[in-house]
């Protein structure tokens, strides 16, 4: 499980970096199709998305003004900073889970068709 999450997280980091947010549902759907036989894969992909975006946010946070930025953006959107962070990770998780879940179904249907 850890290996899957780690690998998928790494792929999601790269996908987000190069393709933006669209990379998350895209990669998640592909992983869902490829690993459709694995039980609970959609949840693992969602977890991987949270890990991937957390890593990217940590990279941003290393700049030193991350707290000020989080505070300013959160107050602009009239949210607590923690809630904004949670919304960010939840957004990634939901996109990843839903795309992976559909990928799993597509994978299963196509496998059944192949049999």
């Amino acid at each position: 499980m850890i290996r899957v999450v780690t690998i998928v997280s790494a792929i999601l980091v790269a996908a987000t970096w190069f393709a933006g947010w669209w990379g998350v549902p895209l990669v998640a759907a592909i992983v869902g199709v490829l690993l459709c036989t694995r039980r609970g894969i959609a949840g693992l992909v969602a977890l991987a998305a949270v890990v991937a975006w957390s890593v990217l946010i940590l990279v941003d946070g290393a700049s030193g003004r991350f707290g000020a930025l989080a505070d300013v953006v959160a107050r602009t959107l009239t949210l607590p900073a923690a809630a904004l962070l949670a919304v960010t990770l939840l957004f990634a998780a939901l996109l990843a889970w839903s795309a992976a879940a559909l990928g799993v179904e597509i994978g299963r249907v196509s496998r059944r068709g192949g049999e």
Binding site: T16, W17, G20, W53, D60, A68, L69, T88, S98, E105
Partner: protein
């Protein structure tokens, strides 16, 4: 099976929901995908909140490499080998720090805010376009030609901005662009001209003439002229008049007469071309635009402690975050060495100094806007207008307002006579002539002025090119000379010379006869008194002038700074700094005795309604030191009393069916004080006939009771000025989280650092320069160099500004003059090979 189907349905809904909110903005939230995504979205902005210690860039058009050294105040010192390269680099660094400001100011100035704000911002855009400001910018560009200095500098500056936009990493896209879901467009040289015109719109449109016309419609023309006079009843002009004290030119105010209904057309016509913001700002005793003013003064070597000339300037403008100003230093060895502030989008340094001299401005408030009633061939669809019996074609221009996606939101057909834009007002077509619409060479004046070696050279360079908005230009040099001149176009009109009437557009005799020559402009060079001051007061004694040069502001700041300078024969740099936020008030000094004497007289007469309260209120007011410090507990009572007095006194003018409140200036109220039995004192709402003392006493009682009700016991902490009067510095998009609101400040109405109304205007830049063998300068402004709200430089200067302190500025001649400890970053810009 059912569970699986349900899971698929939920997954589809979540996915499509996520994709929808990810890709599409649902106001006020931006599209969440690009906004939240951490690699390039809003979180990545953290990576660009500080300039890296060393960075490189390339700019097309650069002839040589340019080194930009940021000092410990985040001021970029640009070292270039040609002036055009310096302005290219300036464009780059301004864009790096203030990209959104560049963008939104340009949209506002060109009447294109609908492109981000939709139909909601249409009235603001209409205001710009109906005044003809974008058209005037296009014409100014055409007049400037391809080869003029300003054209070349504007192109170079645009090159720099666009080079930054193209090279900017996705992570550096400013927060505001992300919130709006847009990207910055290419910058065009004409954008600088739009901004220049916007400054004209801000500063060259004065309310006094409109107020006078409205007053005439309520109380007759004679009374209106007295209540809203051109000439200030208190004279201490900018051009020294040989007096050693202010002169009180008080006259008996004529009583209210029969309404002059024809004046409403004058007012309506003036309103049609007035800034909506100006019409909205009304406060009893503080007519509109009173805070949008400035101070400057200079001291000759004979009156300075160091024996060097000193200069101070603090322009009072709308306070915004980021600030209207951006501080910079441009060095081109042997050609240019200029330090000061620019307006992001306008390449020249507007206020500042070079190695030899320094300069700063205040607004004259001259009447440079006239309205003409035109005869047209067709009231509904005019194509021609008549002048001297002959028909002339109207210029027609369709103004199209676009939405965010290029869709048409509205379209207006505009018409122009040879005078300017035409508008339908109360069933008549009226056209506007305005110096701002015929200007455009101002930036060229700044560029020429930046090379001046002496105060005189600076004044003459500006006189040659600068037209609008007319400014009181103060300069001082290392040779010990000080100079001031009200510079700009001052139209000469037919007839009585006043612009406060509607002119007959059907006659060319109504047109301007030319402009006042430079020799007639208010000015002073090395005066015997040893100092020069301007605080928007009337620039020249009306006894010495044949036309009106402006100055409809109250004279209180002018009186105060003259008083301070007269009393100090050895002025220091620190005194100059202290004067900028001096809490003393000439206004309070003059009014308070009237209140105290009125309280005594009314008490003696035994006619007051509430003698115990009157006695206590008078005691509190008498104990007040007449200063507006943050902890002062007396100012609030005086302000309330004066406001109440204005409301009770000017009841003949208010309220009115049209809802427009009208208050003569507090200088006119002081003039009225000299006539204790004037009919203006009587409150028409009471059966008794009140005189001055009755009104002052009752106002003081009302003010005391209201203040006690609102703020608690007299003298308590609730009465502290700093808890009542605040500066409110709004973000350009009025986002509270990005603004600095409710800031306690020292100063009140009429003090040198004025704080009035809603606190959104004030000293936008404070500078003191000592012109010794080596020039030294100190400065600050409310905000910071960076436009990035998460940057440590976004509002880092606010504490100094609030405390009235200044920072010593670094003025290196070469990069190596800045010690390592004084540097924060270095940027090297290279030509594109």
């Amino acid at each position: 099976m059912i569970g699986r189907t349900l899971r698929v349905i939920v997954a589809v809904l979540v996915l499509f929901g996520g994709l929808f909110v990810g890709a599409r903005a649902i106001a006020p939230a931006p599209a969440l995908g690009p906004f939240l995504e951490p690699a390039h979205g809003v979180w990545s902005l953290a990576r660009s909140t500080a300039m890296p210690a060393r960075a490189d860039g390339s700019v097309p058009g650069l002839r040589d490499s340019v080194q930009v050294v940021y000092d410990d105040r985040a001021v970029p010192h640009v070292f270039a080998r040609s002036e055009e390269d310096a302005y290219r680099a300036l464009g780059f660094v301004v864009a790096r720090d203030r990209l959104f400001q560049l963008f939104v100011q340009t949209l506002a100035a060109s009447g294109r805010l609908t492109e981000i704000g939709g139909a909601q911002t249409l009235p603001l855009d209409r205001e710009m376009r109906q005044l003809g400001l974008p058209r005037a910018a296009e014409r100014a560009v055409a007049r400037a030609g391809e080869t003029s200095a300003m054209s070349r500098v504007a192109r170079a500056y645009a090159d720099g901005i666009n080079a930054y936009i193209r090279s900017m990493p996705a992570s550096a896209l400013p927060l505001e662009f992300r919130l709006l879901g847009i990207t910055p467009p290419e910058w065009k040289p004409i954008d600088s001209y739009y901004l220049q015109n916007r400054m004209g719109w801000t500063l060259a449109n004065i309310a006094n003439e409109r107020d006078r016309a409205v007053a005439a419609a309520r109380v007759g023309r004679n009374a209106a002229v007295a209540l809203f006079p051109d000439d200030s009843p208190i004279q201490e002009p900018i051009q020294p008049n040989g007096q050693h004290a202010p002169r009180l030119d008080f006259h008996r105010l004529p009583p209210a007469g029969a309404p002059d209904s024809a004046s409403m057309l004058v007012a309506a016509a003036a309103d049609a071309f007035a800034p909506s913001q100006q019409l909205a700002q009304r406060e009893p005793g503080e007519p509109a635009t009173r805070s949008l003013a400035s101070n400057n003064w200079a001291v000759s070597p004979a009156r300075s402690a160091s024996g060097h000339a000193l200069l101070a300037g603090d322009p009072h403008l709308d306070l915004t975050l980021p600030s209207i100003w951006y501080e910079t230093h441009l060095v081109v060895p042997g050609a240019l060495d200029i330090y000061g502030v620019t307006i992001p989008g306008l390449p020249p340094v507007v206020i500042g100094f070079n190695r030899d001299m320094a300069w700063t401005f205040t607004n004259t408030g001259a009447d440079v806007m006239d309205v003409y009633v035109e005869q047209v061939d067709d009231m509904r669809h005019p194509t021609r207008y008549r002048v001297d019996g002959a028909w002339r074609p109207l210029e027609r221009r369709v103004e199209v307002y676009r939405g965010r996606h290029g869709e048409t939101i509205a379209a207006d057909t505009m018409y122009y006579t040879h005078r300017g834009p035409l508008q339908l007002v109360r069933g008549r077509w009226v056209s506007l002539r305005w110096t701002v619409l015929e200007s455009g060479s101002e930036a060229a004046g700044f560029l020429a002025g930046s090379h001046a070696r002496t105060a005189r050279e600076f004044e003459d360079a500006m006189a040659a090119s600068y037209r609008a908005p007319a400014q009181n230009m103060l300069a001082a040099d290392r040779g010990g000379h000080i100079a001031i001149r009200s510079t700009g176009r001052f139209p000469i009109r037919p007839g009585t010379g006043t612009g406060s009437v509607l002119f007959d557009g059907a006659s060319s005799a109504s047109d301007w006869k030319g402009d006042a020559p430079v020799a007639d402009w208010p000015q002073g060079f090395d005066p015997a008194q040893g100092y020069l001051t301007s605080a928007n007061q009337q620039p020249i004694d009306p006894r010495a002038a044949h036309i009106w040069f402006g100055g409809s502001w109250d004279p209180w700041r002018a009186l105060r700074i003259n008083e301070l300078l007269r009393a100090d024969s050895a002025v220091t740099v620190d005194a100059m700094r202290r004067f900028q936020t001096d809490p003393g008030s000439a206004r309070a000094d003059l009014f308070v005795p009237y209140f105290l004497r009125a309280a005594q007289r009314v008490a003696a007469r035994g006619t007051g309604a509430n003698p115990a309260v009157l006695e206590e209120a008078a005691r509190v007011l008498a104990q007040w030191d007449r200063r507006y410090t943050k902890t002062n507990t007396g100012a609030v009572l005086f302000e309330a009393a004066l406001r109440e007095t204005a409301v009770e006194t000017w009841d003949e003018l208010n309220p009115h069916a049209d809802g427009r409140r009208l208050f003569p200036s507090s200088a006119v109220l002081l003039e009225l004080m000299s006539d204790s039995a004037s009919a203006w004192w009587d409150d028409r709402n009471t059966p008794a006939v009140e005189d001055r003392d009755a009104i002052l006493a009752s106002s003081l009682v009302s003010a005391f009771l209201a203040t006690r009700r609102s703020y608690g016991a007299p003298g308590g902490s609730g009465w502290e000025w700093g808890k009542i009067r605040h500066a409110n510095i709004n973000h350009l998009l009025f986002i509270p989280a990005l603004s600095a609101l409710g800031l306690p400040v020292q100063g009140g109405p009429g003090t040198l650092s004025p704080s009035s109304g809603n606190g959104t205007q004030g000293a936008s830049w404070r500078m003191v320069v000592e012109l010794g063998p080596t020039l030294r300068a100190w400065a600050t402004y409310p905000g910071g160099q960076s436009g990035n709200p998460a940057s440590a430089r976004y509002r880092d200067r606010l504490p100094q500004w609030l405390a009235g302190t200044l920072e010593a500025v670094h003025v290196p001649m070469r990069p190596s003059d800045l010690a390592a400890s004084q540097r924060s970053a270095t940027l090297v810009l290279r030509p594109v090979r």
